[in-house]
């Protein structure tokens, strides 16, 4: 029986992009349904009644929510190829730690860079650069966070690189200047078809944010 896989999506969402990369890595065929967050579909409200957010993965009618949980699920179900998490429990705990670190830090700093001004924005910029430098340290000399091939942490982080242009433009700074290794890593990731298919372009993200700002 063919698997039925549906993704409730929002194109600019870094969280949704993670799921798309994971599905592409595993070669899973899926249907992508775009959500309008000002007018959420009955399906979204039914499948994620607790948080009412995207992304939601619906596998054979059953929903899974929260992007990192979805990526782990995909890795476990379609375990025939491209393992994302390491098999060793300690390495696994480290991968989970860094993905959690990314979740705790980047979105919030990024949001404040986009929406705040002056001191608050400066503080957020410093925090973001500190976070990215720490991640560069963790990457070290490896090709990917996952080692020789992309892994869980690469999948968790690379979608944010589509947002870098927006952060830089709103905050008037350069991420590449502060974190050249990370930019090199991002380019390397984008050479993978799964990533190039799943990520939307930086200009599209910026235009999405400009529209949001216009509405307010």
């Amino acid at each position: 029986m063919e698997d039925e896989v549906v993704l409730l999506d929002l194109c600019p969402s870094a969280f949704a992009m993670r799921v798309k990369i994971a599905l592409e890595e595993k070669g899973v065929k899926y249907e992508c349904k775009q959500e309008d967050l000002r007018n959420k579909s009955p399906l979204l409200l039914e499948m994620n009644p607790i948080h009412k957010k995207v992304p939601v993965l619906i596998h054979n009618g059953r929903p899974i929510s929260e992007s990192l949980i979805i990526v782990q699920y995909i890795d476990e179900v379609w375990n025939h190829k491209s393992p994302l998490l390491p098999s060793d429990p300690y390495q696994r705990s480290q991968a989970l730690f860094w993905a959690d670190y990314i979740d705790k830090k980047i979105y919030d700093s990024g949001r404040r860079i986009i929406w705040m001004e002056k001191e608050e924005q400066e503080e957020a910029k410093e925090e973001l650069m500190q976070t990215l430098k720490t991640l560069e340290g963790e990457l070290g000399d490896k090709l990917y966070f996952g080692g020789e091939s992309m892994g869980y942490v690469d999948v968790a982080l690379v979608p944010y690189t589509s947002w870098f242009y927006t952060y830089e433009t709103c905050g008037n700074f350069s991420i590449e200047e502060g974190c050249p290794k990370l930019i090199t890593w991002a380019k390397r990731c984008k050479e993978n078809e799964s990533v190039s298919k799943a990520l939307i372009g930086p200009l599209e993200v910026y235009s999405f944010v400009l529209q949001l700002k216009k509405r307010l």
Binding site: I64, S65, E66, I69, E76, P89, Y90, S93, F97
Partner: protein
């Protein structure tokens, strides 16, 4: 060997309690080290340089941080006894979802209840009860969130039970009135030795909170 496993912890921390319960469920001997959070040890700063927080689990000299990650690690390494996460991927995703829900809601809302007053406190109480009711719904008629035995979600949630007394005293409300099924579940958990020996007395926790409030000038 006890020195193989070390836990850097702080006795009232619900996050630390999760790890204590998991280690007890698996029957693992470990060395418990109490941290003074106003004077963090060199070991803590070395083992968790990123967040500088407890709990930190140190296994054969290597640190694992973040309580949910620690509980999963313990479950995977000592997988022979008392499995905490289900083996089915969908059930696992569901357990992780609810653990994440507890992490997103209970600690922060609980904190608001004992640190604020007036409208802010009232709003926190309302959302707190709503969150507990959603958890009650997920529990349903099961003995534990894990089914017939303690599972991941039980381990993640039950440490907040001995903070309920703090929230109730500071917020002037009764959780049992609103969420009787959840209180019944918590009492069932406390009948397990792994839980009973990992949770400090609620009066002691309340005493600690009163000291904190005085120190920070919170009424």
């Amino acid at each position: 060997m006890a020195e193989e496993v070390v836990l850097l912890d702080f006795w009232p921390s619900p996050f630390g309690m999760r790890v204590r319960i998991a280690l007890a469920e698996k029957g693992i001997q470990y060395e418990y080290k109490e941290e003074d959070l106003r004077n963090k040890s060199d070991l803590l700063l070395k083992m968790n340089p990123i967040h500088k927080k407890i709990p930190v689990l140190i296994h054969k000299g290597k640190p694992v941080c973040e309580s949910l990650i620690q509980v999963q690690y313990i479950d995977e390494v000592w997988h022979g006894k008392s499995p905490l996460l289900p083996s089915d991927p969908y059930q696992r995703a569901n357990a992780r979802f609810w653990a994440d829900f507890v992490d997103k809601k209970i600690y922060d809302l609980g904190r608001k209840i004992w640190t604020t007053k007036g409208e802010e406190q009232a709003a926190a109480k309302k959302e707190f009860i709503e969150s507990l009711k959603l958890l009650e719904g997920e529990l349903g008629d099961k003995t534990y969130f894990g089914g017939d035995n303690l599972g991941y979600v039980d381990v993640v949630l039950v440490p907040f039970y001995n903070w309920f007394y703090v929230y109730e005293k500071c917020g002037n409300f009764t959780i049992e009135e609103e969420c009787p099924k959840l209180i019944a579940w918590a009492k069932r958990c406390l009948q397990k030795e792994s839980v009973a020996k990992s949770l400090p007395d609620e009066e002691k926790v309340y005493g600690f909170v009163l000291q904190l409030k005085k120190a920070f000038g919170i009424e």
